[in-house]
């Protein structure tokens, strides 16, 4: 355990903070206050948070400190602060999903993820920025303005969970919750030099997660270290009877796997289709180095082919908009959130239409229109139906690849963080950011992104994606922790230490 003493409490990782609290060196109130102070100091530049729940956070922290003083048994993350993506409901706390249409809405209930965080004594600092309804890869599509990448404030922090990733990289919180529909946890992790995990579909309850695409969405842990992600994963995962798609099976022991950190004898598959052309030179270079390290650590590196991955992006952009067009229908101004045009004369249809016109941003409208079209009578089979077939083929590709390898790896994103504004008007270029992350969402298995260095040409973080079969989330942590340890040993420090001072 690293001593906490030297200066900045907020820079410590969650496990270190927790150990210091358990050892009586520091209180949750102090740790929480340190994060709140950091938010005050830097969030004006970063804009990771949409809402900081200051008083409630300190109150929770005080409660934990009191409990601890009575000698009560507390969970491993009790008292540790966390940033929550603004797509998960929290009783009485604003939940906007980055959209104007939900401005001012305070949900009357806790999501299961929040309930489990509360039960574990985790201190929720507030809600983080995101692309509107999680549609985007840059957080530029937030109705409340973009989040900036702490590595370079002119660049995007990834998306849709750019707020959560930036909060970690800016040391505003040691832990965060993201949601990943096509890469929204992993791509922000990659471009901010942090760790992000998309658990197996059904591994973490979706109850209270405002749906983008129900069959793809999955909440997961975001952290600065693999062990922290594992500790958080263990808190939020597990069966929930309120989510029919939740898996009723034991959660793999991810914390033990992160401690194990041994890849000797593991077969690691390089996915031929996820790399090469279209990937930035520095990304490829760091990836190749990481592969070599895994080999040095005793893993058996093999090449595998997943030929149907090339159709993944096309299938994804039919399935996602189809489900989203239906999931977002309820935002009609009738029951909650924004209402426009209710002048006592306009018909209910007119009010619905005007509310949606004013309340949704352009990317949301684009996807609703795409999805509405794809589900329309006469087009359904050609679009939604075909996309579901591709989904089956991709699942089979994974199954075949996992016959040859225990985990698969690829670069997480084709490039490092691009400049704010660079791709915002080019949807196709934006969509290509998720080319390597989307197959996992379509197949429902799990994946992690971990930092593997900085691209030489721009000095920005590069992420490596580890993919494992459904319900084998522990393998991600075993490989991720081994690689992380080897890299820290090589660099002599964690990559995140290289973030420029804000």
């Amino acid at each position: 355990m690293a001593p906490v003493m030297d200066g900045d409490l907020a820079r410590q990782d969650a496990a270190t903070m927790a150990a210091a609290m358990q050892g009586g060196e520091v209180t949750s109130v102090e740790v929480t206050q340190a994060c709140l102070d950091r938010i005050d100091a830097v969030d004006g530049q970063v804009h990771a948070f949409l809402h900081v729940d200051r008083d409630a956070a300190l109150e929770t922290a005080r409660g934990i400190d009191e409990l601890r003083s009575t000698g009560a048994a507390l969970g491993p993350l009790a008292g540790v602060p966390l940033a929550l993506k603004d797509v998960l409901t929290m009783n009485g706390v604003p939940t906007t999903c980055g959209s104007r249409i939900l401005e001012g809405w305070r949900p009357p209930y806790d999501s299961t993820v929040v309930e489990r965080l509360r039960d574990a004594g985790v201190v929720i600092l507030g809600k983080t920025n995101m692309d509107e309804f999680a549609m985007g890869s840059s957080t530029e599509h937030s109705a409340y303005g973009p989040t900036r990448n702490p590595w370079d404030l002119e660049r995007i922090p990834g998306g849709s969970g750019g707020g959560s990733a930036a909060a970690l990289a800016a040391f505003e919180a040691p832990l965060a919750i993201g949601t990943d529909t096509g890469g929204s946890i992993r791509q922000p992790a990659a471009v901010t030099g942090t760790v992000g995990v998309k658990p197996t579909y059904g591994g973490v309850s979706r109850y209270g997660l405002v749906a983008l695409a129900s069959s793809l969405d999955q909440a997961g842990p975001c952290a600065r270290t693999v062990m922290d992600a594992a500790l958080l994963h263990a808190v939020i995962a597990g069966h929930d009877p309120r989510d029919s798609t939740s898996i009723d099976a034991p959660v793999p022991d991810v914390v033990a796997a992160a401690k194990n950190a041994d890849v000797r004898g593991m077969r690691i598959g390089l996915v031929r289709e996820l790399g090469g052309e279209g990937y930035q030179e520095g990304v490829r270079q760091r990836f190749d180095e990481a592969v070599a390290i895994l080999g040095d650590l005793g893993a058996d590196v093999v090449e595998v082919s997943c030929p149907n991955f090339e159709y993944a992006l096309a299938a994804y952009y039919l399935i996602l908009p189809s489900e989203a067009s239906s999931n977002l229908a309820r935002f009609d101004g009738m029951r909650y959130g924004m209402r426009v045009g209710d002048d006592g004369q306009a018909s209910v249809e007119e009010v619905m239409s005007q509310t949606r016109e004013a309340g949704f941003g352009s990317e949301v409208k684009r996807r609703i229109m795409l999805g509405t079209y794809a589900l329309s009578s006469g087009y359904y089979d050609a679009y939604y139906g075909q996309a579901q077939k591709v989904r089956t083929l991709i699942t089979r590709d994974f199954a075949a690849a996992f016959d040859q390898a225990d985990v698969l790896i690829s670069p997480t994103a084709p490039t490092t963080a691009f400049r704010i504004g660079e791709k915002v008007d080019d949807p196709l270029a934006m969509y290509l950011n998720d080319i390597a992350t989307i197959p996992v969402n379509l197949a429902g298995n799990c994946a992690m992104s971990i930092p593997i260095g900085l691209a030489p040409e721009d000095g920005l973080p590069v992420g490596l994606q580890i993919m494992a079969p459904a319900l084998a989330d522990d393998r991600l942590y075993r490989v991720g922790a081994a690689l992380e340890q080897a890299l820290v040993d090589k660099w002599g420090h964690e990559l995140i230490e290289e973030v420029p001072a804000l």
Binding site: L88, T89, T95, C97, L102, W105, P107, P108, Y109, S111, R206, Y207, G208, L209, V210, A211, A213, S214, S215, P241, R242, D243, S244, T245, S322, E323, S325, S326, A329, R330, F331, D332, M334, R335, Y336, S347, V348, E349, M352, T372, L375, S376, S377, Y380, Y384
Partner: protein, 506 residues
Amino acid sequence: MTSVVNTRMDFDQALERFEPVLGLETHVELGTASKMFCSCATEFGGEPNTQVCPVCLGLPGSLPVVNAVAVESTIRMGLALHCDIASWCRFARKNYFYPDMPKDYQVSQYDEPLCTNGYLDVTVPTDDGPREFRVEIERVHMEEDTGKLTHSGGDTGRIHGADYSLVDYNRAGIPLIEIVTKPITGAGALAPVVARAYVAEVRDLMRALGVSDVRMDQGSLRCDVNVSLAPAGEPWGTRSETKNVNSLRSVERAVRFEIERQGAVLSEGGRIIQETRHFHEDTGETTPGRSKEQAEDYRYFPEPDLVPVAPSSEWIEELRTTLPEVPSVRRSRLQVEWGVSDLEMQTLVNAEALDLVEETIVAGVDQAAARKWWTGEFTRIANEQGVALADLGITSAHIARVESLIADGSLTDKLARQVFEGVVAGEGDPDSVIAGRGLAVVGDDSTLMAAIESALAEQPDVAEKIRSGKVQAAGAIVGAVMKTTKGQADAAKVRTLLLAHLGVEG
């Protein structure tokens, strides 16, 4: 709304020229304690928006979970309708915007219903006696109900033209099953009664299965009535769909009206427009709703928030073996047990008196008396007041009590009818009515004797006739006694006392 004058063709003439084809879609609320996808209560009549939660309000982030009892109820109904039960099926989303739908889509079933291909035999009365008619069932599926809108202002009671509308989501998410028939052909002039008998049979079946109490007055059964007329030699015509017909009588009237209306249109060389229509209870007519010529696109797709429903064959077989007696079998059994004719049985069925009579017999009343009360006096009162027999407030215990009072001579038939009048009027149970109205038979011999003696004194000539053996003259004295006792005497007893008093053999 455009005003439409409906021209009608004589029913019999219409049937000479056209063959009616029916299709019935019946929605019934299941009687589960909780809603289809959440644990909210389903009780009718709660304060608006008190039986709601994030799930049935469709709040962002909430997720549905299937009510296993609703699935079981649907399978049992499917089995009772002789359907195939799917081993694997899914829910689907039906997408359209309407303020009574919290999510702006309805979770229903589309191309993968739980039950398919069944039938239901119904019996309809004809001039040649009862005739059995087989109605083929296309499918039975599950879905959630919508909220209930109340439109205020405007004169149509519909959303267009209303000043404002109120919505109650207590009903949103109540489990419904929808039972869809295949086209019903060959009923000819019986089409309206077949439609009625079918809906009645569905209702009785659901009650017998205990899956719903089917309160039509509370809107828990709603029927969409499809009618088309096929010109001679052609298999089909264009159909109209009359929505939300919610009483047996209305179903029959709507079918009849549509046959007459469409007959008139077609015989004048017109064209039937495929459209939804509204039925008006007051006029017995239908008027056009929205046109379906451009079919609404509901963009159905499998509900991704729910896993498939996959009942095991063991479970299905277990449910099959525990099905109760179906109404048609029960009717045959009761008819034999009670020894009644087809016609009498039809009368009991039409009066919806079967359950009531059976309960009354169980309460210890002689079966003939039970039938007589329910199909006679009570049916008359019910018709007079325009309420259902079951809602008169008369219980089998009331009848048992009154019958025992008749048996021991405390009441006469005439008095008993007055007792039931009192019960229906809300004066309490039979004993309370008797006490309140002072209806007990004047059974005290000395009181009766005094009345007899005074009647004899007033009519000495009649007394003499009786004494001389003209026993039939006793009626005048009995009548006078009944008059002085205000009908509260047992006439037979008066007569016996009178004859004994005069020493004449009865």
